[in-house]
Subunit: 218 residues, 2 copies
DNA sequence: AAGTAAGTAAGTAGAACCCCCTATAAAACC
DNA sequence: GGTTTTATAGGGGGTTCTACTTACTTACTT
């Protein structure tokens, strides 16, 4: 039995989806939330397998909900983004941000069912329309869903360096502190960024904050 | 009437201080908290002028409490740090972090009284033992207490640039977005760092977070 | 009318970062 | 035991940041 949460502000659509999914013997819709905040509250008391998440909602939208959920539940809950905008740019963005699948609202009901099952069992689902190029890119991108699926991607040394970087230290300073070559520190940073798919220290700091490696100074 | 809050985990000391201060006609001790969390909770329901803050406390120490209070109440509440460690290094650090005064626990009672009055009226107090050099340095340092006293030190353009920097954009990218020269953006960033007394983008991001200019992406 | 602050932009230069590659030894995993 | 990952560190090169300066314009203030 796959336990499902729906977060969708268009009630008619949400209810229709809930009713249809309830009829499937393998599904059980346990949450039907109208916004992200509502979803987060209900998640506290429910054991959910898959979330069907609308991006555009009032109060707390799917974008924010996604990052909060990924921060809190890491990889235990699968998330399917259900959006009006079905464009490669968005698909890439949200799959890189921790979603397990991305569907356009124009997709067929059968696709949704298949998607829920796939996402629940294997952790990832690509719609037929997603180009092989993008699939290839995402599968080989250490920063995407596989990061979530594989858990913590950073090594101990990398985390140590990350924390020091967050305190505003330069490579050479960190090298001194740790008794290493500055090239080693450079290398650690480079590999972290490579893994995480980011390209500058600001985004690295952002990652550190989300993943609680950032220890506020003072 | 100056309304005072005391945050100090050594109860005997806290109570002694509270009783003595209460005897002064111009003071009223409204909060006597044992830790930072306790202090923050009580601050919600009280109108306080001056906080006497111990650095070493359980649950939530003075270091963290200081930054939280500065974030929340900005410059309406004056903060006196009361610490066991009376060293220039610490004095510099905490005064730069938003405290209005720094006293060692070895100071005389009269000094405390004078300090509370000074801090309440003028916003800053230096103990006799603080070296003129340090006073000079702090008074001329745009990153210290005067930042708090003067309110927001960043201009609109600077804040706009700061927000974009936090999203991980480079100077050239921001220049494109805003229709400015990249040298202008460089200059804004440089002047922000100069004002705030910081030296790299990580610390800039930290400032942005504390001052709520950082808008978490996605 | 003079003074002050903000916004714009450019010059110069060294430090630090970012990118990618190679390579070796140890540790961890299967 | 063999494979993969991690930690280490160096080469080379382009880009960006950091630091400090000067300078002109606009706008608000006294």
């Amino acid at each position: 039995m796959i336990k499902i949460a729906i977060a969708e502000d268009h009630e008619i659509f949400a209810n229709l989806m809930a009713e249809s999914l309830e009829e499937e013997p393998q599904f059980q819709v346990k949450i039907n939330a109208q916004n992200g905040q509502d979803l987060l509250n209900q998640l506290e008391n429910q054991d959910i397998d898959v979330i069907i998440l609308d991006l555009d909602m009032p109060i707390l939208d799917g974008r924010d909900a996604l990052s909060i959920i990924r921060k809190k539940y890491v990889d235990t809950i699968k998330i399917i983004i259900l959006s009006m905008h079905y464009e490669e740019l968005y698909i890439r963005k949200y799959l890189k941000s921790g979603a397990n699948a991305y569907l356009g609202k124009g997709c067929h009901y059968e696709t949704l069912v298949e998607c829920i099952e796939e996402v629940h069992s294997s952790g990832i689902f690509f719609h037929d329309k997603v180009s092989p190029k993008l699939i290839e890119e995402l599968l080989n991108d250490e920063s995407t869903i596989f990061r979530v699926l594989k858990g913590e991607p950073l090594s101990k040394a990398e985390i140590q360096v990350l924390k020091l970087l967050c305190r505003g230290h330069s490579s050479t300073k960190i090298a001194e502190l740790l008794g290493r070559s500055s090239r080693t520190i450079d290398n650690h940073r480079y590999r972290m960024m490579k893994k995480l798919g980011i390209h500058n220290s600001m985004e690295l700091m952002e990652y550190a904050i989300v993943h609680k490696y950032h220890e506020p100074s003072l």
